[in-house]
Symmetry: none
Subunit: 226 residues, 2 copies
């Protein structure tokens, strides 16, 4: 998530809104809050957020109404819906019409963060990362090595590769990879990074090409031409 990315929270319970705001700002995001449907809609226009966290239950105009309105005026901003546990099923289903994700209250802030992150990644990163003749299309998650298309990367393998491609040439320590790709605190004793590097090598470097994934003994790994 790029620092300064704008997030709009539309939520009538101001203490929940506040909590979420603090957590997001802590991550470097720029946050604005609205406390009812109409002002939420207005803020969506003026603030031009990269994503919206939208409560279903709202005074004035409810979340579904806000969403419908947004889509009608052609706004494709990604939206995460917050639904109370007892929200009728048909309402939840109607989310499929235009929400990108939803969360049931009460929710874990970590959970919201994770989904937001995923959502933003889908939207903000339509870059193609290039390292030597390796291409990683972050929008479609397609990977090519020269002419050859690399198929069947699993989710974890892809994330590892993308992170490395975002930091080309740099030597990345196992701790760094663990915390960035696996979101584990460092100090955990595991060799899962080594194993996944092995998997990637089979798929990326495994067809007689000059290897791009380098081991830096005693430190970690780097993605680069030798």
């Amino acid at each position: 998530m790029k620092p300064g990315t704008r997030i709009l929270i539309v939520e009538d319970d101001s203490s929940i809104a506040r909590l979420v705001q603090l957590e997001l700002e802590h991550r470097g995001l720029s946050v604005r809050c609205a406390y009812d449907g109409p002002s939420g809609l207005k803020a969506a226009g003026e603030f031009d957020p990269a994503a919206i966290v939208l409560d279903i239950m709202l005074p004035g105009l409810d979340g579904v109404g806000v969403l419908k309105n947004l889509r009608q005026r052609g706004d494709k901003v990604p939206v995460i819906m917050l639904t109370a546990r007892d929200t009728p099923a048909d309402k939840v289903h109607s989310l499929n019409l235009g929400a990108d994700d939803y969360l049931t209250k009460p929710f874990d802030t970590e959970e919201l963060l994770a989904r937001l992150k995923a959502l933003l990644r889908r939207v903000e990163g339509d870059e193609v990362l290039r390292v030597a003749d390796l291409e990683v299309d972050t929008a479609t998650r397609e990977v090519r090595r020269g002419e050859r298309k690399v198929e069947n990367l699993t989710a974890r393998e892809y994330e590892l590769l993308e992170f490395m491609a975002r930091n080309p040439r740099r030597v990345l320590s196992r701790d760094q990879l663990l915390s960035e790709v696996w979101e584990q605190e460092f100090g955990v004793e595991t060799n899962v990074v080594d194993v996944y590097i092995g998997y990637l090598r089979k798929k990326i470097d495994g067809s007689g090409e000059t290897p791009l994934i380098q081991t830096v003994r005693g430190v970690g790994y780097a993605l680069r031409k030798l």
Copy 2:
């Protein structure tokens, strides 16, 4: 986290300060403590730390005041705030003032370490150290001597070279190198430094170039053009 990185702890509870100090020093960091706001400010100026761990509650001048002062005089040193209770006002306040992260007491030392590490990584950046025609890229750990790329430096060799490149022209004693690169206490009887200087010379100075690694008889070694 590079060994020898200077960290300043400003915390009035000396037992907490002590605990943190011990943990950090154990990781090879160089730590100084201050126990009130004004002396914290002073230490920030004199000690020139790479990061500051700053308690909000302090006698004399509180953490927010210290931070404000630092920023006013243009000091961009990264700061982690320690907040006693989970007071949102404090969080927001300090983050707005330019704190880089915060932790709520009581906190886990591991947690602090993790955040410190992340912070330093963000700041430390990718320097390229240069001594004469020798280049040491600390991000990629690539080393060049003029046009020639120096390959196959082992971890220890690289660390020694990087440390010397960070202290160019300075004569470094064996004890100094032992404690900074090997993290050994003084007085150990070993000639491992000599041996590694020898390895480095083969790889750095070994191809007919004018030698950069000088022996200073009776004292130690220096990295410099003669």
